[in-house]
């Protein structure tokens, strides 16, 4: 069993959750999202994000609009959809449950 596998397995579900959360209140274009995810050390290389965004968009959880940019090609600004919001709410609950569960189990271990 490799530590990298476990780590990336832990990270993988969270990544989508975090992207949806970032877009919950404001629209953003990929570079913004990358910036935040990099700061949180959730992704290492930028290339990871683009397939994810496309997949979320194809699942109708995200939508985008084009905006002209002064410094480069036009940008895609992503925002969350109705469906995405519902999805996010469910994820929120799942995350809370998970966080609780993890907290509980790790705490028990310490007490022993």
């Amino acid at each position: 069993m490799k530590i990298e596998n476990t780590q990336s397995q832990m990270r993988k579900g969270i990544l989508e959750y975090c992207i949806l959360s970032i877009l919950k209140n404001e629209e953003a274009y990929p570079s913004d999202i990358i910036e935040k995810l990099k700061k949180a050390k959730l992704i290492v290389v930028e290339g990871t994000l683009y397939p994810l965004l496309t997949r979320l968009k194809n699942a109708k959880l995200l939508q985008y609009r084009w905006e002209e940019s002064t410094s480069g090609p036009p940008r895609k600004y992503y925002s969350i959809t109705e469906k995405g919001n519902t999805f996010l709410l469910e994820l929120d609950n799942t995350w809370k449950d998970l966080a609780k569960a993890v907290k509980l189990t790790t705490k028990t271990k310490k007490d022993e």
Partner: protein, 516 residues
């Protein structure tokens, strides 16, 4: 000094150094390949190109052209597709098993060894994946073959072990369990490959013919068309050949392995001559293993080449070298065997028996006791045919010469030669050679065969000479046609013409007394 290339990325024009362009082009092609089976792959690629264009713009504030350093930095930021695998592909498997199933459908199946779930090298497991059968079933078949072919089985396994790559990356693992190979797949594959080649040719076109003939000239269209047709034919022919290679190679291999050690041995042992030719020191495992490797490695290579044509299954260089080394080893084994065999025949011996014939007649009628013999399973060496006969061997092909006797006797000289491991054995072999004739009144009747009473065939040969005293008359019957050879006579007549005549031995030699 550096050459500058102009590129269009996400609708923007950039100057880029030629070396940097090569790297960027490679990188984008890698990505294209990576996403080609993915839904929305084009869009992902465009997004990434857009991002790269953005990064370019940031860097071009202070300079004119994108350099190699810039590209290296940018590809590091964007990351290698294999790094996405870590973060994305596993995510898919978590999403649902169906997703993986979808992905599998996009990949055509290739043969790999499955090292994750293996007994020895994962060969059976890999085969089971490929043929969609239960691994237990596959292993039972293999163990069955193991019993059939005995000592060769480990070699068969090792050959597969060497020849098949193991599925290491996620992509290879998917390919291992990928879509079953069928005619539709193959057709699709041909089309895919064709497209790739067309792309390449279009690149070529752009680079060269455009400069020479202009972008849309009639000539260029013709060249384009011809190239397309020719590559199409080649690709199609390649795939057809591939299928043929695999098919016939497979059949050959099957026969070799099902017969080489069991069947062929039985077949050989059933051949009546085998026990007289071989002994244990010759027909041993060295020869059997050497022969199997020697024949099967080229066949396996042909199959792999066929797989490559049909399915683009690539074999790692190390495995190719491994196969080659095994083949060289098979040469060595064969040479060792050949040396053993040649040793069995290295010494020659000769044995001469002079038999005196006593008769009161001065005219002898010579004939041969011709029997129609079946020499179906005969060994043929230097004009002598040898075949099993009753519990021994018998041979035909001996020749009779008739000469003048020096001592006024009627003699028959039997000169036998044979070979053996040493002089002693060769001598024993010659002593086993026997030849009979019958004297009835004035009839001298030869047998049409000689016998070999030793239990081994070691190239025994027999030469016969009849010595006749001066003054004796002989009649040569037509039945002697195959026996007499190059008999000297005073008329210089051919052997065949001498038949049916009376000959008298004069001082000068045989002379015809019934000829006209």
């Amino acid at each position: 000094m550096n050459k500058i290339v102009n590129i269009n990325l996400a609708g923007m024009v950039f100057h880029i150094n030629e070396d940097a362009f090569e790297i960027l082009n490679n990188y984008l092609n890698t990505l294209k390949n990576h996403f080609k089976n993915e839904e929305g792959g084009d869009e992902i690629l465009k997004d990434i190109e857009g991002r790269i264009a953005e990064l370019f713009t940031e860097r071009l504030d202070k300079k004119e052209a994108i350099s190699l350093t810039d590209i290296n930095e940018i590809t590091t930021i964007m990351g290698d597709p294999s790094q996405y695998d870590d973060e994305i592909e596993q995510e898919q498997s978590q999403e649902s098993q169906d997703k993986e199933e979808d992905l599998r459908k996009g990949k055509r199946r290739k043969v790999f060894r499955d090292e994750e779930d293996r007994m020895i090298g994962g060969v059976c497991r890999g085969m089971a994946h490929y043929f969609d059968i239960n691994v237990l079933f596959c292993r039972i078949i293999f163990i069955g073959i193991l019993f059939l072919i005995g000592p060769g089985a480990p070699f068969l396994y090792i050959m597969f072990w060497i020849a098949l790559p193991s599925a290491k990356t996620t992509a290879e693992k998917l390919e291992m369990k990928g879509e079953r190979v069928n005619i539709n797949n193959i057709e699709k594959n041909i089309k895919d490959e064709l497209n790739i080649i067309e792309d390449k040719i279009r690149d070529f076109d752009r680079k060269f013919t455009k400069e020479i003939f202009g972008a849309n000239s009639f000539f260029r269209k013709i060249v384009d068309f011809c190239i397309r047709v020719i590559t199409g034919i080649f690709k199609f022919a390649g795939s057809c050949f591939g299928i043929i290679f695999i098919f016939f190679g497979g059949i050959f291999l099957f026969f070799i392995f099902s017969f080489a050690f069991s069947g062929a041995e039985l077949l050989f042992q059933n051949h009546p001559m085998i026990e007289y030719v071989f002994n244990d020191s010759i027909f041993n495992d060295t020869l059997a293993i050497g022969l199997t490797l020697f024949i099967s490695i080229p066949i396996i290579s042909v199959i792999l080449f066929g797989l490559r044509l049909v399915n683009n299954t690539k074999i790692h260089m190390n495995y190719k070298i491994g196969m080659f080394v095994l083949w060289i080893i098979s040469w060595l084994l064969l040479m060792i065997s050949a040396k053993d065999i040649s040793k069995e025949l290295q010494e020659e011996a000769k044995n001469t028996i002079i038999e005196n014939i006593i008769t009161e007649n001065d005219t002898l009628y010579l004939s041969m006791n011709n029997v129609d013999r079946v020499f179906d399973n005969a060994f043929d060496a230097k004009g002598f045919k040898v075949t099993p006969f009753e519990d021994n061997l018998m041979g035909i092909g001996m020749q009779l010469d008739i000469v003048k006797s020096k001592e006024d006797n009627l003699n028959i000289i039997k000169e036998a030669t044979a070979r053996g491991k040493n002089k002693q054995i060769a001598k024993e072999m010659t002593e086993g050679v026997g030849f009979e004739f019958l004297l009835e009144d004035d009839n001298l009747i030869f047998d049409d065969f000689f016998t070999i009473s030793t239990q081994k065939w070691r190239m025994q040969e027999l030469d016969l000479t009849l010595e006749i005293p001066v003054g004796m008359v002989i009649f040569l019957d037509h039945s002697l046609e195959d026996l007499i050879y190059d008999i000297k006579n005073t008329h210089n007549m051919w052997d065949y013409d001498m038949l049916g005549h009376y000959w008298k031995m004069e001082k000068e030699g045989l002379s015809c007394i019934s000829c006209e």
